[in-house]
Amino acid sequence: MAVVADATAPVATIRKKVSRPMVVAAILLAWLVLFAVLRGRQTLTLAAADLTGLHRWLNDVNDTIGANRNSNPVFLYFFNEIRLAIDNLVTFVQSLISQPTGSRPVPQIGWLGVVGLTGYVSWAVGNWRVALLAVAGFTFFGLQGLWQESMDTLALTLSAVLVALLIGIPLGVWAGLSDRFNRIMTPFLDFMQTMPTFVYLAPLTLIFLIGGASAVITTVIYAAPPAIRITAHAIRSVPETTVEAADSLGTTRTQQLLKVLLPMSKRTVVMGVNQTIMAALAMVTIAALIDAPGLGKTVVQALQSLDVGTAFNAGLAIVVMAIVLDRVTTAAAGRAEAARRSGGRLTRWRRPLLAAGGIGAAVLVYLSHTYVWAAEFPGNGSMGSHIASAADTTTTWLQDHVSGLTNGLRDVLTTGLLNPFQTLLTDSPWWLVGAVLAGLGVVLGGWRAGVIAAVCVGLLVGTGVWSDGMTTLASTAVATVLVMLLGVVFGVWMGRSELVDRLVRPTLDAAQVMPPFVYLVPFLALFGATRFTAIVAAVVYAAPVAIKIIADGVRNVSESTVEAATSSGCNTWQIITKVQLPMARSALTLATNQGLIYVLSMVVVGGLVGAGALGYDVVAGFSQGQLYGKGLAAGLAIVLLGVMFDRITQAAARRTRA
C-alpha cells in the first residue's frame, strides 16, 4: 500500500504541468499512428469453431464431472444433499401456492387465499396503499390467464430469496464487522454479479440436475451479492458514537451485534432484501432454459414461434410482480419511521386491527383450500389475449412504419462509429491495445487502476478470446456512449422538473424489469440480426439506471447555488452546463460505471440477436459440448472487461471527488 501511495506522488507533480485531457489525447494519437503502421499484425484472432488448449482442458474437466457424478463421494454426500434440501423447499412452496400435490387437483392455497394473504402481509409490514396495490396486481395475474405461471414464478423467487438471505445476511454482517473479510469477499461478489448466467447453467445442471433446484441455485448465485453488500454497508453505517456508547456500557460483542448494530441497520437491510428480490426476478427467463417452471417458460416458448403478444403478456406479469414486491418491501423499510412520525393514535388501533385482519386472511385461506371457486381463478383470462393482440398490433405497426428510419439510423451509426472503432480495437496488435488500456487506466484512475488494467489485459489474452473480447468491447463502448447521452438528456430534464420525473420513472422501472427476451423480436424486425440490435437492447436495459443516477445528482445540487446563478443572469442552458452538470460530476462518473456494468450484463443477450463475439461464444458454450470450455473462457473475458472498467471508473470517480 505504501509503495502505491509513494508512486502516485510524481504523477501529481507531472499533472500540474500537463492537464489530464492532454495526456489522454496524446495516448490516443500515439495509438492511431501505431495502428496505421502495425495494422493487422498480432491480432490473436480465433475462428468460431477453433479452440485453444485452455478451452480443451475445461471441456475435459466438464466431461470428467459428468462421468463421475454417480460415484464421487463429493456428489453423493455434499452436492446431492444440498440439491435435496433445496428441492424439498421448492416443492413445498410450490405445493402451497402453485402446483397440485398428492390427490389434490389444486395447490393447498388457492387464488383467493393467496390474494388475501398478500394483501394482509403487505398491509401489516407496509401500509394500506401498498396492500391495495398488491391485491390489484395479484388479481391482474389471474385476469391475464397466468395465475399458475405467476405462482410458480413467485414460489421460485421466494425460495431463492429465502436461501439468498440465509446465506447473505450472516456473510454481510461478517463483512460489515471485519475489513479483512470484506476485502476477501468483494472480488467474489463482483465475479458472481458479472459472470453471465449462461456460463454456469450447463455445469449447474450437471451438478444439481435439471429443474427447480438448479433454477433456485442459479438465482441465488446472482441474487445473493446485493444482500451481502447492502447488509455489510448497513452495519458499517451505524454511527461510531453509538457503538462507542454501547462499548462504554460494557456490552459484549454478541450483545452489541444483536442489540445495537442489527436493529439500527434494519432499514437498510430491508432495502437489501428488495434488491435481492429484483435480482431474482431478473433471472426468471434465464432459469426457464433449464426447465424452471413459471412465467419465464411462457416467454421463452412464445419466442420459438415469434409470438410477441404472448411473450409480452407474460413479461408484463413479471413487471407487475416486480413492481408489487418492490413497493411492498420499500414501504416495509420506511414503515417504522412513518409510524413514529404519525404518533400514538394509530399505533393504539394497530394491534386489534392486525388481529382482525389476520383472522380475515385465515378465513380466505381456508375458503380457498376448501372450495373450488376460491381455489381456481374464475374466468378464462381473456384479458391476456387482449393484451397479446394489442402488443402484436403495435409491433406490426412499428415494423411497417418505422423500419426505414431505424435501418438508416443503424447504418449511419454502424459505419460512422462502430466499424471504425471496432477495426481500431481488433486490428491493432494486442500489446498495443493493452498498453493503451493500461495507460488510460493510469492517467484516469492512478497507478493502481493502471496495474489492474494491465493484469486484466494479460488474463484476457490468456482466455484465448482476445479478438472477440475487443469486438465486444467496441460494441459495449458505443452502447455506453449512447446510454450516457440518454442519461444526461433525461437525467437533467427529470432532475429539473418534478412532474417529468413522476411521468418518466414508471417507464424506467418497467424497462429495467421487462425481460429482454420480450423485446428482442420487435428489435430484430426493426434493426435485423446485427450488432446494432444488441446495442439497442443493451441501451434499453442500461439507460434507466444512468438516467436515475444523473437525475438524483442534478436534484442534489443545492437550491441556493442555482438561485445564485440565476440572479447573476445565467440562462437555462448556462445553468445546466456551467452549474448543474459540473456539480453533479460524481453522479456522472457513477452513472458511467453502472451504465457500463449493465451494458456488459447484456452481452450474452446480444449474442442471441447477431452481436457475435463473446456473447455468441457464451451461448454456443451452453448449446454445444465441444464449445463448453470456450464459452466458459468467454464468460471469464466478460468478467475481466467488467472488472477493468469498474476499477478504472471508480478510481477516476474518487479523483474527481477529491
Binding site: L209, T415, L524, V609
Partner: protein
Amino acid sequence: MARHWQAGAAGLAVLGLTLTACSGAKVGDSGSAGSKSSGGKCGSFNLAVNPWVGYEADAAVVAYVAQHDLGCTVNKKDLKEEIAWQGFGTGEVDAVLENWGHDDLKAKYIAGQKTAVEAGSTGNKGVIGWFVPPWLAKAHPDITDWKNLNKYADKFKTSESGGKGQLLDGDPSYVTNDAALVKNLKLNFKVVYAGSETALIQAYRTAEKNKQWMIGYFYEPQWFMSEVPLVKVNLPTYTKGCDADAAKVACDYPVYDLDKIVSARFAKSGGPAYNLVKKFNWTNDDQNTVAKYIAVDKMSDDAAAKKWVDAHRDKVDAWLK
C-alpha cells in the same frame, strides 16, 4: 378498546356468513379430479422438449397418446439438446424424440458413458442447407445454383459482413459446416451468426416482406415454411464421406434420418411408454401440420395433438400395437 373488538367481531360475522352462504363445489369432490387418476402400470414418463416447434409437435403428440391411451404421467422438460442428453445419465430424461445427427453427443453418451441408446427413426427426413426467400428465387431463378452466388455477392452485403456477401447462420446448436463451405467453395461471403433461431426466422420474414436480399442457413421440417416457403440453394451434391473432414467440406449436407434417443434405463424397463417411443413414426407433412397448429394457429400443444390424433387414429393405433 372495546369498540375495536366490536368492529373485529362484526367483520368476523360477515366473513362467517359468506362462508356459509357461498358453499359451492368442494376441492376433492368427485368430478374435479377424476380424469387424472389412471396412473396404471405406465408410471411416469420424462420427455425432453428441445426448443424448436417441430420438436414441440413430436412431443405434443407422443405425450398426448402416452397420457390418454396408456395412462402415463408425462413430465415434459423444456431443454436444449446438450442439457437433455446430460439428463439421460441422471434419470431426469427418458427420451429425446428428434435428434439431428448429433454424432458428437452420440459418441459421448451412447458409446462413452453408455447412458443412452438409439430407438430408431422418427420417419422425418431432415434437410439442412442454404435457403433464399421465395421472391428472390422467383426474380433470379439462377440463384439456386451455388455457382452463381459470387455473381450476386454484392447484393447480399450488410452492415455486418465487412464488404462481402452475408450468409446468415442461426442458433449455435445447429449442425453446420457453413464457415468451411464458404472457404472451400471460394465464395465471396462471410458467415454472420445471428445467434438464435428467432433472429434467423425474423430475418427471413422481413426479407420476404420488404423484398430484401438474404441468404442463410435453414432446415426442414419447419413450421415457418408454411408461412414463407423458402427455396433451397443447391450446393455440390452430397456423396457419402464427403463431409468426413470438417475443415475440408465442400459438399451439401446429407439428408438426415431423424432418430430417437432414449436413456439406457428407460429402454431396459421396456414399459408401454418405451414401446410407444420406439414405434412412433410419422412423415414431415404430419409434423408440419401439428407444428402449424401450434405456431400459426396458436393452439395449445395438447389441443393441437388432440386435433391431429383424432384425425389420424389409424397411425396412432399402429404405434400402440
